[in-house]
């Protein structure tokens, strides 16, 4: 992070499954370089031994007890919103793998 950070936009866009034009990518690239430069401020603080904090409040032991079954959706709720479906299944272009 001490060197000028630079995002490999193609790599990250692929991870995020985002299609972008070359123009979009180059504009975004320079904006993100600015933002990452600003993030360098974080290096000014010593965090040695600091416990990372995922939440402001320490809540623990939250769960559903008893394994009791709840309501289910009729398949029509899913097929009503799905872009493509057949026989109550969601249809997508053929997945290879």
């Amino acid at each position: 992070m001490s060197e000028t950070p630079h995002i490999d936009i193609d790599y990250v866009a692929n991870l995020a499954r985002l299609d972008m034009t070359e123009e979009e990518k180059s504009k975004l690239g320079s904006q993100l370089d600015d933002i990452l430069g600003y993030f360098d401020k974080l290096n000014s603080v010593d965090v040695e031994g600091v416990e990372p904090m995922a939440h402001a409040h320490r809540v623990a032991n939250v769960w559903r007890e008893g394994d009791q079954t709840g309501e289910t959706y009729a398949p029509e709720i899913l097929t009503g919103m799905a872009p493509d479906h057949r026989d109550n299944q969601v249809v997508v272009p053929k997945v290879v793998e």
Binding site: A60, Q68, T72, P93
Partner: protein, 488 residues
């Protein structure tokens, strides 16, 4: 240079709970597509996961069964990757801190023949963690269709150390593991139903060296025979590459059942960058130590421990224990029968031969496999049957007939004997008369016996048994025939 294979397995097991890992939607195998979903299962906008405590307990129980340490805290991470079967495009899993740490599984290798017990060894586990199952894709000619019923089922992922050296060991491991999981009531482990799924990591190294070679990961091994075939194929493939002076590429391969071969899915460079991070929607669960002690106390005796005990305290041979001990229900049935009549070997014989044969015949004619608990026989049926044979009330041969009858009707054996008048005949006068008849009618056999051919006696027993409808006491009959010939 001879090579040695090193194999590690990753096994996904569906945990048997009524509801899903993060929501109360139920699960049942074979339900109509997309009838077991709700807003959380479908990953609708605004939904949040809530932990199913039953799944955590069952996974902890599995860990205890397999000798793992149970973590102090159960935490969740997101594994981010896009796939059409994944409703959120991230999987809730435990990356940083698995629920169960370490562990080891005792395995029994096949012996030189089916009837001879093989060696035992231990396979070390790395971890067991909990996660959620994705939906099910079905590939059609031009499209893929998705059923989300399976999405969200709790999965235990069992990861072994690279601690096996052959497909035989891997198969033995899977069989022993499956027996233990079924024993503990964690899962039914039916591979055909996808309840147990296996990936295998295979690498080679020169014999006598320690350093692990480059490994490949084999996916889609959906039966025990696939696991065996795929590992053998991969060992052979890697051996050829290395012998030809080449090197192994770290990659993920897919086993293709049709062609009995595997092909590369993606190389290490194309490997996923899962961007794991702690899930901000779920709170950590402190594992209650006293509850874990309770779970530990509830654990069943592991199958191989049971086998040892049966062999030692009941003097049962491997041919019986190998059949009996893989099935917890059968063992419970057996031990309960012993309460009525202490004849372990005879009872075990009846269970493993007659009972299992009748059960499988019954399920072949019926439409579903019958379990021990579903037939009309109770442990006391079999114990009583063995008891009246031992007491000489009926012969062994009549015992077979009584067994078939009681399997169908559920009547107690003594009642059947009474009703059908099957009591063994001990009337010495009647049998002596029949014996004399038999000796008189077959001088050839008598001659052979006198020349030292003991087997010739059988030809004389037959007519007597026939005349008494099998009810003659065989020991008495034997003695009488010898005595009469010697006297005569």
């Amino acid at each position: 240079m001879p090579y040695e294979a090193v194999i590690g397995l990753e096994i996904h097991v569906q945990i048997k709970t009524r509801t899903k890992m993060f929501t109360a939607a139920p699960y049942q195998y074979g339900a109509a597509p997309n009838t077991l979903t709700d807003a959380v299962v479908l990953g609708l906008p605004g939904t949040l996961p809530v932990l199913n405590y039953a799944a955590i307990e069952k996974c902890a129980k599995l860990g205890l069964m397999l000798g793992c340490e149970i973590a102090e805290v159960c935490k969740w991470d997101r594994k981010n990757y896009f796939y059409p079967d994944s409703p959120k495009n991230y999987q809730l899993t435990q990356n940083e801190e698995p629920l169960c740490i370490g562990g080891k599984v005792e395995i029994e290798l096949p012996g030189p023949s089916r009837n001879v017990e093989g060696d035992h060894r231990w396979v070390t586990l790395n971890r067991i963690h909990l996660e959620e199952d994705p939906g099910k894709l079905t590939h059609e000619a031009f499209e893929t269709v998705i059923d989300f019923n399976r999405a969200g089922i709790p999965l235990a992922e069992i990861v072994t150390e690279p601690d096996m050296n052959s497909s035989t060991e891997a198969v033995a491991f899977l069989n022993c593991l499956r027996n233990m999981i079924v024993y503990a009531g964690i899962s039914d482990c039916d591979m055909e139903k996808g309840q147990l799924r296996c990936d295998a990591n295979v690498s080679l190294r020169p014999v006598g060296t320690d350093k692990l070679g480059t490994r490949t990961e084999m996916k889609n091994l959906n039966s025990i025979s696939n696991v065996k075939a795929a590992i053998e194929y991969e060992i052979e493939r890697q051996t050829e590459v290395l012998k030809g002076g080449g090197s192994i590429t770290q990659e993920t391969r897919r086993w293709d059942v049709e062609s009995s071969s595997s092909f590369s899915l993606r190389s290490k460079e194309e490997a996923h960058d899962y961007r794991y991070f702690p899930d901000p929607d779920l709170m950590p669960v402190q594992m209650d130590r006293s509850r874990i002690k309770e779970l530990e106390a509830e654990l069943p005796e592991p199958p191989l421990d049971k086998q040892r005990r049966y062999q030692e305290s009941f003097k049962l041979p491997f041919t019986l224990t190998s059949v009996l001990c893989v099935n917890r229900e059968l063992c419970e049935f057996f031990e309960e029968a012993l309460q009525t009549h202490q004849a372990p070997k005879q009872i075990a014989n009846y269970i493993t031969n007659d009972l299992l044969r009748e059960l499988s015949a019954a399920s072949e004619s019926g439409d579903c496999a019958l379990g021990v608990g579903q037939c009309k026989l109770t442990p006391s049926h079999i114990a009583t049957l063995v008891k009246i044979i031992d007491e000489g009330v009926i012969s062994k041969q009549i015992g077979k007939e009584v067994f078939t009858e009681m399997f169908v009707t559920g009547e107690m054996p003594d009642a059947i004997v009474e009703k059908k008048g099957l009591k063994q005949s001990n009337d010495i006068g009647e049998i002596e008369a029949l014996c004399r008849e038999a000796i008189a009618g077959n001088t050839k056999a008598v001659g052979q016996y006198k020349e030292g051919n003991i087997k010739a006696l059988n030809a004389l027993k037959g007519p007597v048994m026939k005349a008494t409808k099998g009810q003659a006491n065989p020991a008495m009959l034997d003695g009488l025939l010898k005595k009469l010939i010697d006297e005569g």
